[in-house]
Amino acid sequence: MNKSTPSLWKATFAIVRKDLAAEFRSFELVSAMLVFSLLVIIIFNFALELDIKVREAANAGILWTTFAFAGTLGLNRSMSVEKDRGCMDGLLLAPVDRSAIYFGKALSNLAFMFIVEAIVIPMYSMLYNVNLFRIDLLVVILLGSIGYAAVGTLLAAMSVQTRMREVLLPILLFPVAIPVLLAAVKCSSGLLAGDPFSDILTPFNLLLVYDIIFIAIAFMTFDFVVEE
């Protein structure tokens, strides 16, 4: 690597900045994810007849289902934009490490998920009268979203290059992301039920393990997914 090559961090943040700047100009993606999330929550409300008892057991599941669905929307969009406008080729030609592209896209996907979550969580708290603003719960949401975005970015990069494109992403992503979603649900429902932290230590550890393993794999295999 010569001296003119920007460092991994610099390149990564340049990509994140690019994505965020493009998004903040129109708020297309975030607003779509947000409206979609609210619709999912409303549908769940009536589909499950959420009275107070059912709701206490179902809160964590509904939240994570919403995040996962909205996340898929965002992942698909952010990758197909790159593909359609030919930006991906530009990024690949740029003299940066390929892993910078992966980390950049994963971080901006994560940022979109966070923005949506930052609005959905207070709304959900208000609509259903539960307090979701707890530091331990927010840590779980952070870890779950990281794992989901890590695998999702890799698989979205794959699915946009296939014939079925957007349709394929959930089919590829959900079965592989089940462990992270279920571990996150298990942690969240334990926390919401007021269990002590020691009780949710096992799912919490699995969440961490999943994050570490899948970030590592996605980082190692992303090269093979974008190479031409």
């Binding site: 695998v151 890799l154 698989l155 794959m158 699915s159 290059q161 296939t162 014939r163 079925m164 394929l168 089919i171 590829l172 079965p175 592989v176 992301a177 089940i178 462990p179 279920l182 571990a183 298990k186 096992t202 799912p203 699995l206 393990v209 999943y210 393993i213 899948f214 794999i217 295999t221 093979f224 997914v225 190479e227």
Partner: protein, 231 residues
């Protein structure tokens, strides 16, 4: 396409013989299990198919890594063969388990960790074929397939560990029925049928992989000819 090599011809015959012997052992030789009755005979083929199913998925993940490292299409063929044959066998495993569960647990299905993980694993590999179908260039298809088998192979065991946390109510159902209890009550003749089924399905698996590899080789040949013809 060359005619079948002599080794494969022999293996075909051996496969049919061991399958027949294994079926005989399972259906007639092994004594009827006292608690379960005749349906317990399904268990021998259930275990046999499950064993080669899992073996194939492990082989596929290894072949995927080998492909990514070497970029040799032979590994891709191995991966496809292993995943396809295993998907068929694993499907049989799930349904046979379900048929066994109906009289045993009075339900076709429980959301037990093993059953759920098996179903999710099967879905991962069905998704694998959908992914491959959507890609035209053989080289890219091989790359994406390899990455996905790798992801699937690693996420399946984690799925099992996570789901076990949810279903703490009845972990004993399958554990005692297939594991400790069954083992204790498994007589000598049952053990013979059991181990022979494992051996027989390994032979069947190798034979099918071999056939599938030849099919892939033929597919590749036709594909490259088509590319030439269209150019």
């Amino acid at each position: 396409m060359q005619p079948r090599p002599i080794g494969l011809k022999i293996l075909d015959v051996v496969t049919i013989i061991v399958l027949a012997i294994s079926a005989y052992l399972a259906l007639f030789f092994a004594p009827t299990e006292k608690v379960m009755g005749e349906v317990q005979r399904v268990f021998y083929f259930h275990i046999g198919t499950a064993w080669v199913g899992l073996l194939g998925f492990v082989i596929a993940a290894i072949a995927g890594i080998a492909y990514l490292v070497s970029k040799n299409m032979l590994w891709d063929r191995f991966e496809v063969a292993a995943v396809e044959v295993s998907t068929v066998f694993f499907f049989i495993t799930i349904v046979l388990g379900s048929i066994w569960a109906r009289p045993a647990w009075n339900t076709w299905w429980t959301w037990d960790p093993r059953l759920t993980t098996a179903a999710i694993t099967e879905l991962i590999y069905i998704a694998y074929f959908m992914l491959r179908q959507g890609i035209e260039e053989p080289e890219k298809r091989a790359r994406f397939g390899a990455v996905y088998t790798l992801l699937g192979g690693i996420s399946a065991p984690i799925t099992f560990m996570v789901i076990r946390l949810f279903r703490t109510i009845h972990p004993v159902v399958i554990g005692s029925a297939n594991g400790t209890q069954e083992k204790m009550s498994m007589s000598g003749d049952m053990k013979i049928a059991f181990f022979f089924a494992l051996f027989a399905f390994t032979v069947i698996f190798v034979d099918m992989i071999w056939h599938r590899l030849r099919l892939s080789a033929l597919e590749e040949k036709v594909e490259s000819l088509k590319l030439n013809a269209s150019m």
